[in-house]
């Protein structure tokens, strides 16, 4: 698989994401946000975590208007895979690729811990290697991960089985404890937890390996 990792000023999880993808067998390119085009032969565009543009205005709001985002939208509209982690999730929401909003954590604190997640669906390229309702441990590190969605929209997400992950116990005030959301074509995933930080037991968990393996298995190792 060919993957592109987009880097914004203030991204800080880009390297971990590149390493996780490469270690899993992907051919990874790093693309600066001022580029305006992404070659069409990329299978996956991944938007890493961090603090793009210093979280000014709203988390992800300014990055979502970067030149590269036109190309990301084009890739998404052509049915390409897009992954947004943490700040990347915030950016996908600001781009309108995932519904809802991410607000300040209900406890107002920056949360840096490794909570248990519940895999809510097995039916996506991102979660195919997990069992439905499997419990996994993936770290979070965020201040604005409180997922908000109207009840009507939540009904749509549930009906379409688009909640990918939820926190086993309430973490940040998210509606229904939602931690990750799929697009309607199931090819775009936004999630607050960091699977790229769960690649080795030495750092606490290796539950992220199955995540990236599923993605790379999609199109074969490079």
């Amino acid at each position: 698989m060919r993957a592109a990792v987009i880097v914004f000023p203030g991204s800080n999880c880009d390297r971990d994401l590149v390493v996780a993808l490469r270690d899993t067998g992907a051919d990874v390119s790093i693309i600066w946000h001022k580029e305006t085009e992404i070659p069409t032969n990329f299978d996956l565009i991944a938007i890493p975590g961090g603090f793009s543009f210093g979280d000014y205005l709203r988390c992800g709001a300014i990055a979502a208007k970067s030149p590269i985002c036109e190309a990301v939208l084009k890739h998404a509209n052509n049915g390409g895979y897009v992954l947004g982690i943490c700040n990347g999730f915030q950016i996908l929401i600001e781009m309108g690729l995932i519904p809802g909003a991410l607000m300040r954590n209900s406890g107002l604190k920056f949360l840096c811990k490794t909570p248990e997640l519940k895999v809510e669906t097995h039916d996506s390229a991102f979660t195919a290697n997990y069992l439905k309702f499997e419990k996994i441990k993936i770290p979070v590190a965020h201040h604005d991960g409180n997922y908000f969605l109207s009840e009507k929209q939540l009904g749509v997400l549930r009906d379409e089985d688009r909640v990918a992950f939820s926190y086993l116990n309430d973490l940040n005030g998210s509606v229904d404890g939602i931690a990750g959301v799929l697009s309607s074509n199931r090819r775009i995933l936004g999630m607050m937890p960091h699977p790229e930080r769960a690649m080795n037991l030495v750092t606490g968990s290796s539950d992220g390996q199955a995540f990236f393996r599923a993605l790379v298995e999609l199109t074969g190792a490079a």
């Binding site: 709001a61 208007k65 519904p99 300040r104 209900s106 005030g173």
Partner: protein, 76 residues
């Protein structure tokens, strides 16, 4: 010309920061405070004669997240 765009969380959207400010005010003995909502003000310095519809467009495209926020525009 200058305008001020006031951005507030919509009613019904929980405002944890406003809530924290409220409880701090209560802690200081201001028992009359029934609720606090915290928002932000963005001042725009615009060329004279700028159409206010353009400010609306700025709000829609960047300044405001209409999922959770509402806004008002005022000349200052």
């Amino acid at each position: 010309m200058k305008v001020a765009v006031t951005v507030m969380l919509k009613n019904g959207v929980l405002d944890p920061q406003g809530e924290a400010v409220r409880s701090a005010l209560l802690g200081l003995g201001f028992f009359d405070v029934k609720g606090v909502r915290q928002g932000k003000v963005i001042e725009l310095d615009l060329a004279d004669g700028t159409d206010l519809n353009e400010v609306d467009e700025m709000c829609k495209q960047l300044l405001v997240n209409s999922v959770i926020e509402s806004y008002t525009v005022e000349s200052i």
